[in-house]
Symmetry: C2
Subunit: 211 residues, 2 copies
């Protein structure tokens, strides 16, 4: 029997979205519970060793860390989103970690007192990724994979950044731009956030002086 899956979430968290996208691609039912990270409830502090989302509750076992959750889902529920070949799979996992480094650079960008160097650092991270992409539409070609699940939430930030100003972070990186456009159409990526996502991210950024 399939275990009961509960994804413990925050509406803006890009790491939660990775797991939500993987779950949607696999077509398994799950419930989603949102946590206010500004006032963490006791049950959440008890369950989350690092105080972070996502958690995946599998019947009564708790998994933490998005990469761990995505690998667990991929190892137990078809279809596979990671490559079958161990070396190719390792390279995909490494680029997902690279996606986490890009998320840190995005955080540095919207929190920066001086925007120009943070913008440059973020752009350089993307530029390094451009030659890793092929003809698309997805990271590894014709099949949607776990790297795509990690980058859907990354590019989603730019939907809101673009409404604020033209920062030119993806200018001159045509493969990344095409990838971003493809990810924006994928039903699993679209469904990974709620209808208020853009409004809430705008408010979140405004609170940090980013507007």
């Amino acid at each position: 029997m399939r275990p009961k899956l509960e994804l413990v979430s925050h509406p803006l968290c890009p790491y939660v979205q990775r797991a939500a996208i993987a779950l949607a691609e696999k077509g398994v039912p799950f419930t989603r519970t949102s946590v206010d990270l500004a006032a963490r409830p006791d049950w959440f502090t008890r369950l989350s060793p690092l105080g972070k989302v996502p958690l995946l509750i599998v019947d009564d076992e708790v998994l933490f860390e998005s990469a761990v959750i995505c690998d667990y889902l991929d190892e137990t529920i078809a279809p596979r989103l990671h490559p079958e070949d161990p070396l190719a799979r390792a390279r995909h996992r490494a680029w997902i970690e690279y996606g986490s480094a890009i998320l840190n650079a995005i955080g540095n960008f919207y929190n920066a007192a001086e925007r120009a160097p943070a913008r440059l650092a973020l752009r350089e991270k993307f530029a390094r990724l451009e030659p890793e992409l092929g003809e698309g539409p997805w990271f590894a070609g014709a099949s949607f994979c776990m790297v795509d699940a990690a980058f859907g939430p990354i590019f989603r930030y730019f939907d809101v950044f673009d409404q604020i100003a033209d920062f030119g972070i993806l200018t001159g990186l045509p493969r990344l731009q095409a990838w971003r456009a493809a990810l924006a159409t994928r039903p699993s990526v679209r469904a990974a956030v709620g209808p208020d996502y853009r409004r809430d991210l705008h408010a979140f950024l405004r609170d940090r002086g980013f507007q």
Copy 2:
């Protein structure tokens, strides 16, 4: 034919040690190349997307990120260090990520302007782990596993911290203390650093005003 393995290293890096321990447990030959992270050579910058060690060069393919490298080794070379059961394996991977959070807390401790709160934060991270341990000697009982490979390098810091002062970070945490003692005897853990490790770590800490 087994691929040629080269581990790109730094003498003090705890993440490199995870991979070195996994390789030693599996008994496969590998070469080790040390990089001066204060003056990164061009070849290293070209190969390492995040500018970090370890890298594992597998014939002519480059893998980055220690968790990815350890999982790749575990999926391709016997004996397995992760559990066979996917849920148990996911929990092990999550506790390895928790080990990375402990390493960040160790860095905050030795870099802290105010040592007391950083000491408390580090101690709390360890205290959360204590009830996860059983009768030992290893994380999951009788078999040495990948979580052990991650925590050998963590406890090694305390060999040098203890020479500086009694910070009491592991006081009252008997299972962690027993685990630390067991890890210190494991040949793979001992062989993961060179003979100058303690001297070099002392110098590194002294440069940061930690003495």
